[in-house]
């Protein structure tokens, strides 16, 4: 699984959580989306862990700067790293 494939699946996750459509790009960050606050972030993490069957460690999602880095983290976790 690569970054593009992860972002494609992430798009469906985002579509189910955000009330307003959000078009994902690798450069997109939470600062770009008004609705993407700390509570929405938790809902996203819950949905992403379930969608990709992965577990995140404390602080590592917060350390990602944008969707591309978040997708890369998911790729690493899916691949067992």
């Amino acid at each position: 699984m690569n970054q593009d494939q992860v972002i494609s699946r992430l798009q469906r996750v985002f579509d189910n959580i955000f009330l307003e459509p959000v078009q994902l790009t690798p450069q997109l960050s939470a600062q770009d989306v008004e609705e993407w606050d700390s509570l929405t972030q938790i809902s996203l993490m819950v949905a992403v862990e379930k969608e990709f069957n992965v577990r995140f460690r404390v602080g590592e999602v917060e350390a990602t700067k944008n969707v591309g880095e978040f997708a890369d983290l998911i790729v690493r976790r899916v691949n067992g790293n």
């Binding site: 509570l39 938790i42 809902s43 993490m45 819950v46 862990e49 379930k50 577990r55 995140f56 460690r57 404390v58 602080g59 590592e60 999602v61």
Partner: protein, 148 residues
Amino acid sequence: MPSNNSYSFEDLHEGMMVEHEYTIDTTVYETFLSIFPDKSPVHVDDGYAKANGFDGIVMHGAILNGFLSHFVGMCFPGRRSLELSVDMRYLKPCYMGDKVVLRGTISQKLESRRVVVLDLAYENRTRSYTAARGRVQVVIMAEEQGDC
């Protein structure tokens, strides 16, 4: 509504389930109406409700949300809980006097944020059907002072 549980995040695990029974009695109904006066006819006019296919006045769905607040805050996960979001689907009506068992099952733990997801089922024991289903996200806060 006795119970005063206080599960820690570490106590909780996926698949863990707790039930609690509630009764929608006149006190619950009238107190709800006095605070949130939704007096739309299906909730207060027996004839209107029956003319629209119900067995009588329909209890407000938000009463079930009130039970959920007690359930999460006092039963499971208990006193260290804070609800982050609730998604509720009302499937079949509840009526005055019905006994409802709220069952919460942990379907997911988000270790990095100390959040648990509870799948909810409201079983109407008086009418032998599932009245509502839902999902709630709960963050488990640090221990209270004096906790041991």
